[in-house]
Symmetry: C2
Subunit: 256 residues, 2 copies
């Protein structure tokens, strides 16, 4: 994925292979900043406890209420944004913002946030935050929200990746789409060497952004605030595969 | 300010000169990350427009509602957190968290967020975000909230700085406090060489965290996402003077 030709960028409301590539690269910084900020706090398990099977955890309530607040002001009108709790969003309190319709309507509503939620809390979080409880629950939950939103935006950006790739090579993709052939679509979207490069780049970013900066370059550097190999693994195991999953799902209905 | 002796750290519920110093340094990273993230978006002026003199701007509504949400879950119980809209906060919906009482009660309630708000929107923001409007209002306002909260936490951390300095040298400060001598207190809290070092360090951090990271080190680096001289100026003109203002105000009532 993220294979990008620097020539023949097809224009589609300003969306080009190059603009998509630049957005994906810039989103790496946002994701890494948000992980570094979350790692400031320990795990803080009371955020994630359920009193009972039916009552929500504190982090669920905070994310749900934050999404409702942001929905009122139009966050989820943007085709780049996808809520974690889409069923309980209040109506707009501001005039609608007319975003250009770039995505094919059938694929625009793909939402795999349930998967992202489970991976983030069950698998990723324990890999990069220290054990413990410092009582800073709300700032911690605010960091979780940042991480979730950054990961969700990046992964669902697969819709734009798929759209721009389809526009660039409609014949190649069209055949596989008409055959509803997921495996061929996945092959068309997979570029192992590009994925290796992305993994190395995000690890390098984690090292650079997570270092302790001191005026004296000879000072012994502390360890990185977030282990670069965790960030590389996050991209390898979850971000890139889930983005490609979104791309395939999007393409499957691109000719509907 | 931020002068720190590495010896004779007085213990006060775990608060030491060294722990205060470490917190201030770590908070620099948070502030710079939040500025870099805000700089992703253009100014987006509709966020800041008032329909009339009495109705709030969209950013005011979003910050106010976000604070109310966070207050319910206990954000402002923490002595490190100070709301921008303290008059309209709802009661807790979770059991109270008993933070250790480190600050003297008279100084604990100092809140200069009105000043921070005005500086952030009127003076700082135009210095580091590009002109324009990309319609991403809610993500932009969420970044403003991050910046405001990070700056507010850093500046009000002056209460802890003042407390630990007072505990470390009660005689020196006591005399000026009893005389309610602001000028002497300001002199006791000011260390020009330390301030110069902080300014250089935050500029260096802005350069490192705001660079475009590429796998090939020979690639021409783009310009920093936030001008390092703006971050240095932010600390010089606003963060350090306002922190010292909080420190002086705190000390003036430290013997009440």
């Amino acid at each position: 994925m993220e294979k990008v030709a620097n020539t023949s960028d097809s224009d589609n409301n300003g969306l080009t292979l190059e603009s998509v590539r630049q957005s994906l690269i810039r989103q790496e910084d946002t994701i890494i900043f948000s992980l570094i900020e979350r790692a400031k706090y320990p795990f803080n398990s009371p955020l994630y406890d359920h009193d009972s099977l039916v009552s929500p955890s504190m982090v669920e309530s905070i994310v749900k209420d934050s999404e409702a607040l942001q929905a009122k002001f139009g966050r989820y009108e943007s085709p780049e944004e996808n809520p974690f709790f889409p069923d309980s969003l209040p109506p707009l309190v501001v005039p609608p913002h007319n975003y250009p319709q770039i995505l094919h309507p059938s694929g625009a509503s793909i939402n795999i946030n349930k998967t992202i939620w489970d991976i983030y809390f069950k698998q990723l979080l324990p890999l990069f935050v220290p054990k413990g409880d410092d009582g800073n629950y709300v700032p911690t939950a605010a960091c979780d929200l940042q991480c979730l939103q950054a990961l969700s935006r990046r992964i669902h950006y697969g819709k734009f990746v798929a759209e721009v790739k389809f526009i660039d090579a409609p014949e190649d993709y069209g055949q596989a789409i008409r055959a509803q052939d997921k495996d061929t679509l996945m092959k068309l979207l997979t570029f192992v060497s590009v994925e290796e490069m992305v993994k190395r780049r995000v690890a390098k970013k984690a090292m650079i952004f997570g270092q302790e900066v001191s005026l004296n370059d000879d000072d012994k550097k502390g360890k990185c605030k977030v282990d670069p190999s965790v960030v590389s693994c996050l991209y390898d195991k979850w971000v890139m595969p889930l983005t490609k999953l979104v791309e395939v799902e999007y393409l499957l209905c691109r000719l509907d």
